[in-house]
Structures are given as C-alpha cells and as structure tokens.
C-alpha cells in the first residue's frame, strides 16, 4: 500500500468530513473512500442555520455545502459509527456493518448540549439549534409569532438567536449564568459592549441567573420558565443554547485519547492513544479534535470554528496521503465570526488566552472597533466589531508574538491605547511567556521558529 491507495474511512459527513474527502482526491488518493454520516442529509453548512435561515432569507433546504470537486466516495448517510477496533482496523456501524480501513479520519464534531431534564426537554416548544431539523422546527415556531421567546445561554448561538428574534419583532428574554453575553469567548470588557448592544436592541437580558425549570401547560406544551432569582416567565418557545457536547462516545474503549473534551492529536492531526503515543493511521479534524498550538504554549485547543474545520481537514487529508517529510503542521490561527444585531464580530487568535485588552482602532461608542488582547506582554488575540478588514494585520502580530500593548499609532486613533484587565473567567490554564512564533506564508513553508527574549 502506498499513500495514494488503500482504504480510507472518514467518520463524519459535515464540513470537516467533506473537505477532507475532497482534499484526499485533490492530492491524488485513488483508493476506496467511505464517508459515514449520522445525519441523512448531504453535507450542509451550519452557520446560516442560526442566522439567515431563521430570518426567512434562506430556505432551510438551500444550505448544502458547495462541492469543490467531485468526490468518488461511498456515502453512508443516516448511519452512526458505534465503535472502533484499532487492532482489527474496523469501524462498527449502527446498521450492524463493520467497515475495514487502512487509514481513518475521525471528524464526528459536536452536538448541542441538551436541556438536562428529559421530561422538560420533551415539552412542545423546547428546541435546540444545531441541525437542519432544529432550524426547520424553530423557523416554524418563530413564524407562528410566539408571544415571548426564552433563550437559555448567551454564547454566540444564543446571542444570534436573540438577534433573530428582535429582527422579527419578537419579545425575547436571554438568561445567562455568566456576567454578560459572550463573556467566555471575549472576556468581560467586550462582553459589556455585547450586553449594551443587546439591551439597545430591546433584548430582556438577564445575567447572573440560571433557568431552574421549564414547565408545561398540562397538555405537553411549554408554558413558563422559572429562573434562579425567583422570576417566572410566560414563554411559548425556549431555545436551549448551552454549548456543545463532543461526539466521542463511540470511541470509548477504543484505546484512543478520546473523552468529553475531544480526541487529542498532534499538530499533524494524528490521533494520540490513551498513553499519549501518536498513532500512525488514525487522524482527527474539526470540532472533535484537540490539537496543540505553538502560539498558545502548545496547549491543546478544541475549537468549534468553521475555518478551523476546513483548515484542519485539509492538513489531515494531506498528511493521510503524504510521506513523513511532506507532512504539514496545522498552525492556522483560530478564527471565528458572528453576525448579530447588525454587527459583524470577528475574532482571531484566542481572546480567552489573555490578561489584558486594549481598544486600538475605532470607537466602542460607535460600535466599530478593533480590540487587541495580550498575555504577559505579547499579543495573543484580536477581536473586531464591524472592522474585520484589519484583522489579518493583527494575525501577523499574534504569530510574531509582538509586544503588548502595541506601541504604534493607527489610522484615526493616535496615542497610547488604554489597557484594561481582560477579565476572562477562569484563567487557570494560563502560565508561561512566549517561546515560539509561527512563520512562513505558504502551506508547506509554515513552520515554528524559536524566539529569543529581547535583551
């Protein structure tokens, strides 16, 4: 068997699985390719589901991911992987079949964290937003004109949901346990801006509270929600936006380093086994992967980002068919975007990996600005509100471990920026200073170089 033939199985038929399959063929893989997907649909795009689809601008059946090229593959859709036998090199499927493989890509992603109480979760009106079915169901409910919608959780999905409701003119309550929306991803300073934006758009935002119970009307329909501060809210719809659960249960007992935080792998997307030894023929990509990033002290990052799924799938697929010296590291900076309340939020790097933050361009009052995050004197992230066109510049600062706070004037904002505490909740994982930088521009020249501290 050479790199370009044999049997490859991709488990997961969403963004990472599809892009990996396409890249395998791009790179000349001629062997048999099987793609397993739990959902019945052809691979589809999720970001529009919490935005354009719910606004009625894009029909739910128009979100299929565009094919970059034909992929000659055996698509097993509507079938779940239930187990992995590394010794026999078999993936076990929910339909009873066993799939043999020479190389395996795990791209099973995440699912929405369900409402913890099953009976309450079963009430008519309690919905999640992750899959196409979720979006269809929610769209129907929003179009029916509910008197009030409750969004549980003010992360990006929850905040986008609140934005959709307001754009549709619906009353919406957002309940968030943290101190402000998006605080986990952006830290306290920008989270306060996000809170102001929500309130200015008429969201009934309630932070520092949890939803303690969802109650029915006696006929199986959601009627009200109870909050930890004693409030009771009459609501017709409750959108559960409590984050994600990684789809790793099927790997239990397989011997891979798989668990609730994902499947650990190296920078080349090779999965680790339980002992932390890298495997030769099992690869990981997308939301389910945990991979080391040199910019963040080689800590394992698990990202639920569209761009990461694409970039990591491409690296994984390349490495699956390339000999050792040709392999590439997955070094792209984490990046994500969100559109809510008419604002385009874009982030580069890891804003939670920070102790300080400074607005370096634009104005918070105008809600158009770039904020840069620093950790122990170097730039680690940048977030733009309606100013995304500048972010690549800050990406280069992050990759070069440039000093924080930045000491230069920028267009329209001369002078030294005000530096504020980043106010990132639970900074327990942060520790050392910079030791490396990412260099190179083309995929095959991106490498890590050691930095010497100045002086």
């Amino acid at each position: 068997m050479t790199g370009r033939d044999g049997r490859i199985v991709v488990v997961g038929a969403s963004l990472a699985g599809l892009r990996a399959a396409e890249t395998l063929r791009d790179e000349g893989f001629t062997g048999s390719l099987t793609v397993v997907g739990e959902e019945r649909h052809e691979p589809y795009d999720r970001p529009p589901l919490s935005k354009q689809v719910l606004l009625g601008r894009v029909p739910p059946d128009h979100v299929a991911l565009p094919a970059r090229r034909p992929v000659d593959a055996d698509w097993r859709l509507g079938v779940r992987a239930t187990g992995l036998d590394l010794e026999k090199r078999l993936v076990r499927l929910s339909d009873g079949a066993d799939l043999p493989f020479d190389r395996l890509l795990v791209a099973t992603g995440v699912r929405a964290r369900p409402w913890p109480d099953e009976a309450q979760a079963a009430l008519d009106g309690v919905v999640g937003v992750r899959t196409l079915e979720d979006a269809r169901g929610l769209l129907e409910r929003l179009e029916a004109g509910p008197r009030r919608v409750l969004v549980i959780g003010a992360g990006f999905t929850g905040s986008e949901m609140a934005s959709v409701c307001r754009e549709r003119g619906l009353d919406v309550v957002v309940a968030e346990r943290g101190g402000a929306p998006l605080i986990g991803a952006l830290g306290g300073v920008l989270a306060e801006v996000a809170a102001d934006i929500q309130r200015a758009h008429g969201v009934d935002l309630r932070c520092g509270v949890t939803v303690t119970a969802l109650e029915g009307d006696g006929r199986g329909r959601l009627a009200r929600a109870r909050l930890s501060d004693g409030a009771a809210l009459e609501v017709d719809v409750a959108v559960v936006a409590l984050g994600a659960v990684r789809n790793t249960e099927w790997l239990a007992g397989s011997g891979l380093a798989a668990g609730p935080r994902g499947v650990a792998c190296d920078a080349g997307c090779h999965a680790f086994d339980l002992n932390g030894v890298v495997t030769d023929d099992v690869f990981v990509a997308g939301d389910v992967a945990r991979f080391p990033h040199p910019v963040y002290e080689y800590q394992l990052l698990a990202l639920e980002h569209w761009g990461n799924a694409v970039a990591q799938a491409e690296v994984a697929a390349h490495n699956m068919v390339s000999p050792g010296v040709r392999k590439r590291p997955h070094l792209s900076l984490p990046a994500f975007w969100s559109s809510q309340f008419g604002v385009n939020i874009k982030s580069l790097g890891v804003p939670s990996f920070a102790d300080e933050v400074a607005v370096v361009q634009g104005s918070v009052e105008e809600r158009r600005f770039v904020a840069v995050y620093g950790y122990q004197g170097r730039v680690t992230a940048a977030v733009a509100f309606d100013q995304a066109m500048w972010l690549d510049f800050y990406g280069r600062l992050i990759e070069a471990a440039a000093p924080f706070p930045p000491g230069f004037d920028t267009v329209g904002r001369p002078g030294k920026p005000e530096v504020l505490p980043a106010d990132v909740p639970d900074p327990a994982v942060l520790s050392h200073g910079p030791t490396v930088a990412v260099t190179g521009h083309l995929p095959d020249e991106r490498r890590v170089t050691l930095l010497r501290p100045p002086g």
């Binding site: 361009q361 634009g362 510049f393 004037d409 920028t410 001369p414 521009h441």
Partner: protein, 410 residues
Amino acid sequence: MTTETLLRRITDYGNRADPYPLYEELRATPVARQEDGTRLVGTYREILHLLHDPRISSDLRNRRHRERAAPDDEDDQGLPPAFLKLDPPAHDRMRRLFMRHFGPPHSPRRVSALGEELPGIITGLVDGLAGRNRIDVVDDFAYPFPVTVICRLLGVPREDEPRFHVWADAVVASIDPGPEENPGERRRAGQQAKAEMGLYMSGLMADRRGSPRDDMLSGLVNDDIADSGVEPVELVTNSVLLFVAGHETTVNLIANGMLTLLRNPEVLADLRAAPAAMPQAVEELLRFEPPVHMLTQRTPLTDVEIAGVVIPEGVPLSLVLASGNRDPQRFTDPDRFDPWRPDNQHLGFGGGVHGCFGAPLARLEAQLALTELIRRLDSPRLAADPPEYRRNPVLRGPRRLLVDFDGMRP
C-alpha cells in the same frame, strides 16, 4: 541603473507602453527608496500587507512637511477631502453613507438594475459604428460607455459632457506624479476643475432635494445625514470623486482589455465561443493590465518594518499594484495572460478600507462591453501596436486604440 531612479523612469512617458520590466527591477528590492524620499513597494505580499496595515495613512496631512511635495496635497480651494484621501473614522462614515445608495444591504438592486440598462447602451454605441472599418476603441466606445453609465448612476445629464469632460481631464492631469512640465500649474488647474465640478454637482443635488429621481444624487441629498457625522459639502466632494473615478478607470479597463484580447487572438476566439468565461477573463485583465497602476497617497504613521526594511514615519509611500500583480512569487508565469488562471486574487481593485468602491459596477461594465465588442466586430486587429498611451502613469491606458475590422455582425 540604480533603483533610486525607478519612479522617474516609471513616470517617463517613454516607458508608458511597457513599464513591466521596470516593475521587475522594482521587485528585486522590497522597499525601493527614490531620489525624492518616496518609498516604492512592488511585491505582492508586501503590498497586500500594507493595504491592510492600520499604521499606514491615506491622509497626506500625515506626511512630514518637507516630504509633502506630493502631487495633490495642496488646499483644494477650501473643499474638504473626499474619502479616498481620508483615514477612518471620517473615511468610514462617508463611505458608509455613500454605500447606502450604491450596494447591499441598503441598495442591493442598484447595480443589477443598472446592469439591465447596460446592454441597450452598449448596443446603441456599437450600432453607431456600422459602416466603418476602423474605430478608435477609446473615443468611440471605451470612453462614452462608462461615462453614460456613471451619469445614469449619479443622475448627471449626459448632454453636459462637453463641460465635465474638460474638468475630468484637468483633475486626472493633476494627479500625474511625473516631475516634467509644470506640476504646480497642473495642480492649480485640477483644483479649479474640482471646484467648478463641485458647484455643478451641488446644483444638480439642489434640483433633487425634495423631488427625488431614480439616481444616487437623489438618494444622497434626501438621506437623513444628521447623525452620520457627514457634512452636506462632503456629499458634494465625494460625488465629484465618484464621478471622476467612474469616468477614468473603467475606460482603461475596457481599452486595456480590448488591446490585450487583440494581442492574444486565441484567447479572444475562446471567449467569443464561450462568453460565459468573460468574468474570469476580466479578473485576469485586472491582474494583467490593471486600470490603476499604483497608489501614491500612502504615508506611515510610525516606522513600519516590512520585509526586513524600515519605512520611516511620514515619508511618501507608493504601492505599485501593477507590479504586485506580476509578482512570480504569487502568480505562476505572471507575464502570461491566462483567463483560466486559478486563485486569481489580484490587486487590480486595491484592497483594505480603500478597496475600489465601484468594483461591482466596473466588473459588470467590462464583462458586458468586451463580450459585445468581440461578438460584433468581424476579424478585428490592431492598427498600431503599441497604441498611443495617455500621459498618466497611474491611471494608465491607451489614449487611442485604433482597430481595423472587416464588418459588423448583427
């Protein structure tokens, strides 16, 4: 020859027909210091980075006083600068206000509605050439077409063309960075023309206040700008900017396009057989023969290191887009015109916050115009190659493009 004289040689009219060898020389030095202190950058990656670098200003008031001897930086007869020459946040406020009347999300139909009128305008112009065997693509087509379109878009009466043609020529001559002749005189003439155009434009806007028509000036003058931070006089100066820009660049794109297609007859034949490929061909044109060769208005706000070289604060900085477009580090076989080139992320429309405002319209105009020209002209061929070029090295294109042909197809 020394790289210090590159700008002088690029602006030398003798090199207008083929500046590309000079650009190749430029790319050998990441940042080329010129005799007058100007820094030229001509490599793709460095240009791209500088276009998106928030330390780089487009406001000439940030130049060190003794280095301000730039083509167009004197007081514009009391008129405030248009957004092309401003930095955020003022730039953003103005551009956003204008975009409300040009593109999505507020005016998603503006360009496509205009697009429905374009074929009629093109057909009218081409029909008017029937019975001839030689045309000047510039004067007979590439100039009148976009002028008609920009007039229609803004709401400027086409019959006033004799007046604004003179003004636009004066404005363009004033931004010629060449040292020859009398730059002070040209600059004064350009400012005078801009002032006259401003008066003319505000007259048109006054007519539309309260009685809007289906054009951009009507939208602008009847918009509520109270909270936008934009002054009424800035509506005028920016409308003049769009009018001149819409005038002068698309002419080059179409004329350069015809020239390039006639120099590559096999590509022309392919495109005539498969007009669906014209959008790609126009992208390649924007790379291969861009209408704007360099951006001359940049100034670093602080010392900026790029490719290991420091560009000092306050010095004039020019980004040579047409050179970046031919950078072999970015484009395989860059001197070949290849509409089927993959991953063609050219610099033809600039980039960053000052990226071409009218790009969607320019693309559409060039695609439709070139498709129709090559469909209608029977056996077209260049009567002179190279053609006679316009003086301006920045807005570079033929002044005359004589084409012989055997007849006009229906």
